[in-house]
């Protein structure tokens, strides 16, 4: 049942990311909904689930990007794993956790994406303008995290403390 909810989460976010957010750019940046969802899943269920979810979510959005298939999958999986490790030391109750983690995840995931895409042959990504977009997108990620985190929490179902 949980995998069906994860599937629905990924498909819905892919549709929203590709159909709506291209028209909602702020200073040339769009949020990365799948990356924020990966951070949310890693926060809820730990590094293993975060990495696997990040891989599948990244591969799903890679289908709609011009960059080589696997770039987002790897960047998101590494981010999910990292956030999953990091979350075990966090206090859970803060309501600011979603935007803080969304923003941090956006920065880390975006930077990893730039590194991996550059290695994969994408031109000219290490430019000042890229980092300006990266920061803007991370702020946007922090804002959309308020909406994505509850959706991801629903997909994760009941808390499973075994992953800690």
């Amino acid at each position: 049942m949980r995998w069906i909810r994860f599937f629905l989460l990924i498909v819905s976010l892919v549709v929203i990311q590709t159909a709506i957010f291209p028209s909602l750019r702020v200073f040339g940046a769009v949020p990365d909904l799948l990356l924020v969802a990966t951070v949310a899943v890693a926060y809820e269920r730990g590094p293993e689930a975060g990495a696997v979810f990040g891989f599948v979510a990244g591969a799903a959005i890679d289908v709609f990007l011009a960059s080589p298939m696997g770039v987002s999958a790897l960047a998101f999986a590494l981010t999910g794993y990292g956030i999953g490790i990091f979350q075990s030391g966090l206090v859970r109750s803060s309501r600011w956790m979603a935007p803080i983690l969304g923003g941090i995840g956006g920065l880390v995931g975006g930077f990893l994406w730039i590194c991996i895409a550059s290695i994969a042959g994408q031109d000219d990504l290490f430019a000042t303008a890229s980092f300006r977009i990266l920061v803007t997108a991370a702020i946007y990620d922090a804002l959309v995290a308020f909406l994505v985190f509850p959706f991801a929490r629903w997909a994760c179902g009941e808390p499973d403390f075994a992953h800690r």
Binding site: P22, R25, P68, M69, G70, L74, A127, A129
Partner: protein
Amino acid sequence: MAVYRRESRRRPIMALIVITCLALITLDGQGNGVIGSVRHSAQEAIAPVQSLVADAFDPVTNVFDGVTKVDGLEADNAELRARVAELEGQLSRDRGVSDEYSQLVQLLDIPDVEDVTGVVARVIRGPAGNFERTITINKGTAQGIVTGMPIVAGDGLVGKVTDSSRSQATVTLIDNPGLGVGVRTEKSREQAVTQGRSGDRLLRLGFIENPRAPIEVGELLFTAGSEGAAYPADVPVARVVRIDRDRGELDPDVFVEPLVSLDQLIYVKALRMPRSEMTTDRG
């Protein structure tokens, strides 16, 4: 003990993910057909839902556009009035030269924009990511859109088709890093190549044939259309907006702005070049 078991399980999973991703990147980089087919099938499958959702959210995106772009409208209006006046003068001056030029182009048998037919398509979405400049159009191989076709809008060159499935195609815009367009300058007719810069809407002009040529701010750039080029000759591409000349450097940094407003495209036209190889990468 439980913690140890978890740790030891994580590593193989991460290793498997990393290896799979590297394999995917390598295969896709080599143009593997299976990955291309998977991409096309997934895009085709989800396209109707995307279209429905995009239509449903149209009012929201319109309001967002109105709020975020209202500041620039007055400045744009003033700038456009000045440009109209300038171009009207230029049009009169150019009229005398154009007949002579058309005759020469015909003699050289170089395909220009008048020789090509096209397919009109609607832009159905912009780029989903932050670091790419692409659009998706609602026509694909079924309507004759193939990889390599140049794409134009009313004002000039938009980009070229870099991927096409049955009912839609991806167009890489001219300000995407990695997509160079062979151009010539309006006055001195120097050849050069435009170079997109990540995260920046201005293009850099590289490989200028004669870096000491008197290129001026405001000068227009047209496709060079040399033999075997991916674009027909004389399609307007961009306007020079800034020239930085550092002492000691031979080449000036020339920055140009695409003539087409690439963020506000609604309809575009895919050109069928008469004698070109559509899969060529040459600018």
